[in-house]
């Protein structure tokens, strides 16, 4: 109990003193996860829509696999990405290991199935509603996907936020491919893990509260932005 209150106090101190190390870590956390969310959305949202409007032989299987990939253990993803990016691996020459880019790659792999799967479910309902109209208007496959993504954008934002949530709180993969290097690849979660390892529970808790506050802040910002975009809600 005592440690939790200490953690809260520590979080308050960190935030209000605008600790430069903390700001750096927070900025990198945001940079990595937001980039990953944007890239994963660029892949996952059209993929989700594509799976809705296309009938092909292994569609059900593909969707089942996608849903299963939502539970992909980050550590495994991290290990695979590590082996790919390692100097001894196929993409070693790119020299991406232990850089934020490597962390983004790992998170994209973790988040994309989640975003694709959630958006697939959302878009399926919208497609049921639009189906006859879009067929009647002879919309091409690409146009159908575009219409579903655009008109479903509010609901799809939720899918993206879910992806953000999974990314910002993820530690297993980015620890391996990022290396938790101070001033270089240290993010909130890896810092928490490090401080816990040192037995600095109050400090770790403080960082944890900062992480939660950050996640809440991002969610609130996105929601308020998307609501003011159009005056009325439908």
């Amino acid at each position: 109990m005592n440690e939790i209150t200490q953690g809260l106090a520590e979080a308050g101190r960190l935030i209000f003193s605008l600790d430069p190390d903390l700001l750096e870590i927070v900025a990198l956390s945001l940079r990595v996860t937001l980039s990953a969310v944007v890239i994963a959305s660029a892949i996952g949202l059209p993929l989700g829509a594509w799976l809705v409007v296309n009938r092909f032989r292994f569609r059900r299987h593909t969707i089942a696999v996608l849903n299963a990939l939502m539970g992909l253990p980050p550590v495994v993803v991290g290990l695979v990405v590590y082996m790919l990016l390692s100097r001894a691996g196929p993409f070693g020459v790119l020299d991406l290991l232990f850089t934020p880019t490597a962390m983004i790659i790992a998170q994209v792999i973790i988040i994309t199935p989640l975003i694709a799967s959630i958006s697939h479910q959302t878009i399926r309902d919208l497609w049921a509603e639009y189906h006859d109209l879009l067929i009647s208007l002879s919309a091409t496959r690409r146009q159908r996907i575009a219409a579903l993504l655009w008109d479903g954008r509010r609901a799809l934002l939720t899918a993206m936020l879910a992806g953000f949530g999974r990314g910002i709180g993820e530690v297993g993969a980015i620890m391996i491919v990022g290396g938790n290097i101070d001033h270089s690849t240290r993010v909130l979660t890896t810092a928490i893990s490090l401080e816990t390892g040192k037995g600095n529970f109050a400090f770790a808790m403080g960082l944890g509260f900062v992480l939660i506050a950050l996640a809440v802040l991002v969610n609130l910002t996105i929601h308020s932005l998307s609501r003011t975009e159009r005056a009325s809600v439908w």
């Binding site: 940079r31 944007v38 660029a42 390692s86 001894a88 020299d95 934020p100 390892g197 037995g199 529970f201």
Partner: protein, 269 residues
């Protein structure tokens, strides 16, 4: 359109964020070295003296050696003589330079149910723990600390090469995480002195045994072989080595104390 702008901004950050400022070098070190806090003292001085940014990868010895073998780091600083020699034999490193040593200590509940406090040797202490079937937490992560511990168990009778009984808990984690586990279970554990002194969650644990020469723990610096990995920063690795073995490092290491206790003994030649 809004999305495009966001995308462009993100890409810009991605690209520009990547540009490094000064020279940098990747050094894989063990958790125990980092947890001691010594790196926080040395790194800023290195930056000031050599204008060299040392990017520390804090991992277990096993992983550090793997990173070196794969050429993912430029040099390693570890403490497991046998594994280091095998590393050199495999041609993965150019040479091995001893820098400093610290020692391992045995930690346990203050009540000391196994009664290891007064014994003469480390093996004897472990024998008592085995005899009392007292809970013992092992790193179990193939780290230098773990390797040293496993070596000591080989001298203990009645447990085989490495204990497999229920009281022996191999947690497969770093020093800090293992200490946390030991603290939670109120169990015995072997730790390096630095990590123990710096550890913030001691609970009922206390230092019970130390001083056996077998517990000395030599740290060595091994640059990765540039013949195997042409991309490694050979000159920077040498520069760093000379600094670590030099007089400035000697003074900083010899002055580094926690609670009045000396953590490392500089012995570079």
């Amino acid at each position: 359109m809004n999305l495009k702008k966001t995308l462009a901004a993100v890409l810009a950050i991605l690209v520009y964020g990547q540009i490094a400022m000064a020279d940098d070098i990747r050094l894989a070190v063990t958790t125990s070295f980092h947890n001691s806090g010594l790196s926080d003292v040395l790194l800023p001085e290195i930056k000031a003296d050599l204008d060299l940014e040392v990017k520390l990868l804090v991992v277990g010895t096993g992983q550090a050696l793997r990173l070196g073998k794969a050429g993912d780091v430029d040099a390693i600083l570890v403490h497991s003589r046998k594994a280091e020699l095998a590393f050199l034999e495999g041609g993965f490193g150019t040479h091995r330079r001893e820098i400093m040593f610290n020692d391992f200590v045995l930690i346990g509940p203050s009540a000391d149910p196994a009664g290891i406090a007064g014994v003469k040797t480390a093996v004897e202490a472990l024998q008592k723990i085995a005899g009392a079937k007292a809970s013992f937490v092992s790193r179990g992560d193939d780290s230098g600390t773990h390797k040293k511990e496993a070596m000591l168990w080989q001298g203990v009778k009645g447990v085989g090469d490495v204990p497999t009984q229920g009281w022996y808990r191999a947690v497969g984690a770093g020093m800090g995480a293992s200490l946390n586990t030991a603290s939670g279970m109120n169990a015995y554990i072997m730790a390096d002195r630095a990590s123990w002194l710096k550890f913030g969650n001691k609970g009922d644990l206390t230092l019970l045994f130390s001083g056996d020469p077998v517990l000395f723990n030599q740290y060595a610096y091994l640059p990765v072989n540039p013949e195997l990995h042409p991309h490694v920063k050979k000159e920077l690795a040498v520069k760093l080595e000379n600094w670590l073995a030099g007089p400035k490092a000697e003074k900083l290491i010899s002055d580094y104390k926690i609670g009045g206790e000396l953590l490392f003994t500089f012995n570079a030649k």
